[in-house]
């Protein structure tokens, strides 16, 4: 019964949290979209194209945040054999991949009018593309084995090895002379950005986090149910074999 102890607690907690995370996501993303598209000024240099920032930057944060979360869950699964950690790492991967894809796509849409190119093999852009491939690799590996335990273990190791890419992304704009601008929000001495632009940025960032929590709960529930189905099926096969 030890196997069910933690998932049962997760399911109880999930039931309480889900309506709240849904509400925070809807409110923050609704308000964030309003301020991003209507309630914030155009940039004096970039004009209206600056509005892409409110999708691009929070997506980039989420792409990295989800990867760190996935690596932490994977470490917990490998070290303490926590029965839920594997499931949560697996549940986070598609969310992280979605945000990383959005970051690259919106970056491309922003890069064309501002830099004059859809894509450049710049350190920041390239390391972000590697992040997307790490997510794809994780998702392929975790489902590649008939025995889910083996898939979880192999994918957890990939997640941990790939974590080296996260600091490379973060500091790529400082280590290399790149086309991409350096950080202007998360930096020493406070954000160098006006509050009229910071408000929609943070609303979107909080909304994306709440969205991640909701998806984590839904996918976690699916994984737990699928695991229980597998256990019952195995028991049935076992009982049938003994009955013969």
């Amino acid at each position: 019964m030890h196997r069910f102890a933690n998932p049962a607690r997760f399911l109880r907690l999930a039931k309480v949290i889900l309506p709240w995370s849904n509400a925070v996501a809807a409110l923050c993303l609704g308000a964030g979209l309003y301020f991003a598209l209507l309630g914030s000024p155009a940039d004096y240099q970039q004009g209206e194209s600056v509005r892409i920032m409110y999708v691009h930057v929070p997506s980039a944060w989420m792409g990295m945040f989800c990867y760190v979360a996935m690596a932490v869950f994977s470490a917990m699964a490998l070290i303490w054999k926590h029965p839920l950690a594997d499931l949560l790492a697996k549940a986070t991967a598609p969310v992280g991949a979605a945000f990383t894809f959005l970051c690259l796509l919106t970056g491309s849409l922003w890069g064309k009018p501002m830099w004059g190119t859809w894509w450049a093999w710049d350190a920041r852009l390239t390391s972000m593309l590697i992040l997307l491939f790490l997510y794809f690799g994780y998702m392929a590996l975790v489902n590649a084995f008939d025995d889910p335990e083996r898939g979880h273990k192999a994918a957890a190791i990939l997640a941990l090895v790939g974590a080296v890419n996260v600091p490379v992304i973060k500091w790529s704009v400082d280590w290399w002379n790149t086309l991409h601008q350096p950080a202007s929000v998360v930096k020493m001495g406070g954000p160098a950005i006006d509050s009229s632009m910071l408000v929609p940025l943070l609303l979107m960032a909080v909304g994306f986090k709440a969205y991640w929590i909701s998806i984590l709960i839904l996918r976690g529930r699916a994984e737990i149910a699928a695991q229980k189905v597998r256990i019952i099926r195995m028991a049935q096969i076992h009982a049938a074999a003994q009955g013969e």
Binding site: I52, T106, Y211
Partner: protein, 65 residues
Amino acid sequence: MESFQAMLHMGGYGGYVWPAYGVGIAVLVLVLALSLSSARKAEAELEVLQQTRRARRGKDSESQE
């Protein structure tokens, strides 16, 4: 109506700004829909299995009495 036109035009960047938001919303809705359907499907399957197991156990205990 003019402001709606201006909104679509986005100071000449409409062709870049709107696809960014459009694809963003589409991707998030897609991930949400897939997650919701996978949770519903797995929980429904578990429910069916648990019901048949309960029914069988009920029958077993009746025949033992």
